[in-house]
């Protein structure tokens, strides 16, 4: 919220208005798509972007993922990983570069339309509907689906048994890790064509982290490409087909997960030794 002209800072008086859940995505009119055959399934190509009219955060950054692959983005805090994800999802204005999905240039599309195109996204923060029950959260995940989604819900419950237990509880009353599970579950409900996760394992216990990664691998093997940001970088790179290291908004290293793990420079500077 650097130079937000409309803010009144921290006035949290609830009788005036209800700042809770107010969005931050600047709405934009949806443009047209163009055919752009070839290339990976999803690619954010040469992206330069920033917030509002602030400085560029991303500098000619490229992120891509192909069918059945897991791509992991790592990097220091503030490097622009989340910003990159948001840019791919159309949540901020791209100043340069293109986003292509499945042979189509979708740079001009609004986020809603990208959801309709089959992109699923779990943001880093405020990624659940806190006042709605766990089950309703999952239902909202399936909002764009017109078919019967009960099967998918059962699958999610199988994956995260604790959610089934707390099905009727308001998601806002869950613990940090439990919320994270709801968030991933919500995205899975979409049955997306491509899944983007921003630090899905932040704050989850080791056992849940393992399960999450297991599930992510399974999902990827069904052919759904997965693009994720991770700070539990070593675990994540171990399962990654492709790894990106972002530094100050630009690609610093790119390679397979194994390659990056093996690179002493990367290990030392970004993976904590």
């Amino acid at each position: 919220m650097s130079n937000d002209p409309y803010g009144d800072r921290g006035n949290k008086d609830w009788s005036v208005g209800n700042a809770k859940g107010q969005g931050s995505i600047m709405p934009k009119a949806s443009g047209k798509t163009h055919p752009a055959p070839g290339g990976p399934f999803l690619i954010g190509d040469g992206m330069t972007a920033g917030y509002g009219n602030g400085p560029d955060i991303l500098h000619d950054c490229t992120i891509a993922v192909d069918r059945g692959e897991i791509a992991v983005i790592v990097g220091p805090n503030g490097a622009g990983k989340s910003t990159g994800m948001k840019a791919v999802f159309g949540m901020l204005d791209m100043r340069k570069g293109h986003v292509r999905l499945d042979g189509e240039d979708i740079t001009e599309l609004s986020p809603q339309d990208r959801v309709a195109k089959g992109m699923g996204f779990v943001p880093q923060t405020s990624n659940i509907f806190t006042s709605m029950s766990v089950e309703e959260n999952l239902e909202m995940g399936a909002f764009i689906r017109r078919d019967d989604f009960r099967d998918t819900m059962t699958q999610v419950y199988d994956l995260f048994p604790i959610l089934k237990e707390k099905r009727h509880q308001a998601a806002g009353e869950l613990s940090g890790g439990q919320r994270q599970q709801v968030a991933v579950g919500r995205a899975l409900m979409t049955q997306p064509k491509v899944l983007m996760l921003d630090e899905p394992t932040a704050g989850v216990s080791p056992i849940v982290m393992d399960e999450l990664f297991d599930r992510i691998i399974e999902v990827a093997r069904t052919g759904i490409p997965i693009l994720m940001v991770e700070q539990n970088a070593r675990q994540a790179l171990e399962i990654a087909d492709k790894g990106y290291v972002l530094v100050q908004g630009a690609n610093a290293f790119t390679g397979t997960g194994k390659e990056l793990l093996a690179d002493p420079e990367v290990r030392k500077s970004f993976l904590g030794g």
Binding site: I25, F129, S131
Partner: protein
């Protein structure tokens, strides 16, 4: 017999008017609470939206009356109501497009929107007076009473009468129907759930494929309908006067807050709390006690806790006490 008389007197002067007034406030507070919950600001223009809607309904009513249309025993205004609602929907959607949308898209903080809504109030205020003037308008026709006090006395032979006005009946019935519909809509339909989701977390709603502008549009349409219904019912029961509609804002907001801002159930409960605290606390028990107490012990004075001068003040004290016990309102003020 005397106990019955006492009860009738109490019903006539406290219960029935309280319920009718409470329903009117509840409908108004529902609109306020919806805007608060979903569009995230306290809409000061609600009172004047009610006035605009009622004005449209009145104009249509006059048109129908001049064409000779009527609903028999029911007021013609009910026939005109859908047109009034349609007009108000267009009005608020237009206002949203011209005014609120800009701030929403800029992610303006709620207080800005509150003050903007104050500006809208002023403008509506002026327009209403331009079109229909500042005067009192009585647009009630049809049969006035379901049961008048005199008829009741004749029928039962009791000393106390019980009046039940057509408008009171309509108000109560409409309120029940509208509230039931609203609840069904919010909790069971896809559109309703998407409204709740949007209210909870705009960004995530967007990421779930919910179209925010659609949610906003539906919300305004519901709010317009609620405002017009509330305004028309109120106008039928009392009378239409633009100034009074602005004044209504205060009890309506009090109702919404005491019920828990953002909570529809709360808005309804709040409406009744306000209505009854206004009507009961300053009630003079002389008449009722006169029936209940044995001969000779009947009171001379009014047996009034507080004079009606203080009815508003007293109802606020009640609110304060309610909030002291439940600081977030009767129904935890969470979103929709």
């Amino acid at each position: 017999m005397d106990l019955l008389n006492a009860f009738i007197a109490l019903s006539n002067y406290v219960l029935i008017p309280g319920i009718a007034y409470g329903s009117q406030l509840a409908l108004g507070a529902l609109g306020v609470t919806l805007v608060y919950g979903i569009l995230r600001f306290s809409n000061f223009a609600h009172g004047d939206t009610m006035a605009m809607g009622t004005m449209a309904t009145i104009l249509m009513t006059w048109l129908f009356q001049s064409m000779g249309l009527s609903l028999g025993v029911l007021p013609t205004a009910l026939l005109a109501l859908p047109f009034g609602i349609a007009f108000t929907m267009l009005l608020v959607l237009g206002t949203d497009k011209v005014v609120y949308k800009f701030y929403r898209e800029q992610k303006a903080k709620p207080v800005i929107l509150v003050i903007v809504s104050l500006g809208v109030t002023f403008i509506y205020n002026g327009i209403t007076r331009f079109i229909i003037g500042a005067d009192d308008q009585n647009f009630l026709d049809g049969q006035r009473f379901i049961m008048s006090a005199r008829d009741f006395k004749e029928m039962t032979g009791l000393r106390e009468g019980l009046a039940f006005k057509t408008t009171q009946g309509i108000t109560i019935v409409t309120a029940i129907i509208v509230v039931a519909l609203l609840f069904w809509f919010l909790n069971k339909t896809r559109a309703g759930k998407s409204m709740r989701a949007y209210s909870d977390n705009e960004d995530l709603a967007l990421l779930s494929g919910i179209n925010p502008e659609r949610v906003v549009m539906i919300t305004w349409m519901i709010v317009a309908a609620l405002a017009t219904i509330a305004g028309t019912l109120y106008g039928l029961d009392k009378s239409f006067k633009p100034f009074t509609y602005f004044q209504l804002l205060l009890p309506i907001f009090a109702a919404a807050i005491v019920g828990g801002l953002g909570s529809p159930v709360g808005a309804i409960a709040g409406g009744f709390v306000i209505a009854f605290s206004e009507v009961t606390i300053t009630y003079a028990w002389k008449k009722v006690l006169g029936y209940v107490m044995p001969e000779g012990l009947q009171p001379d004075g009014l047996v009034q806790l507080m004079s009606t001068d203080y009815k508003f003040a007293v109802s606020f004290v009640i609110l304060l006490i309610v909030l002291l016990i439940k600081p977030t309102g009767l129904f935890k003020g969470k979103s929709v």
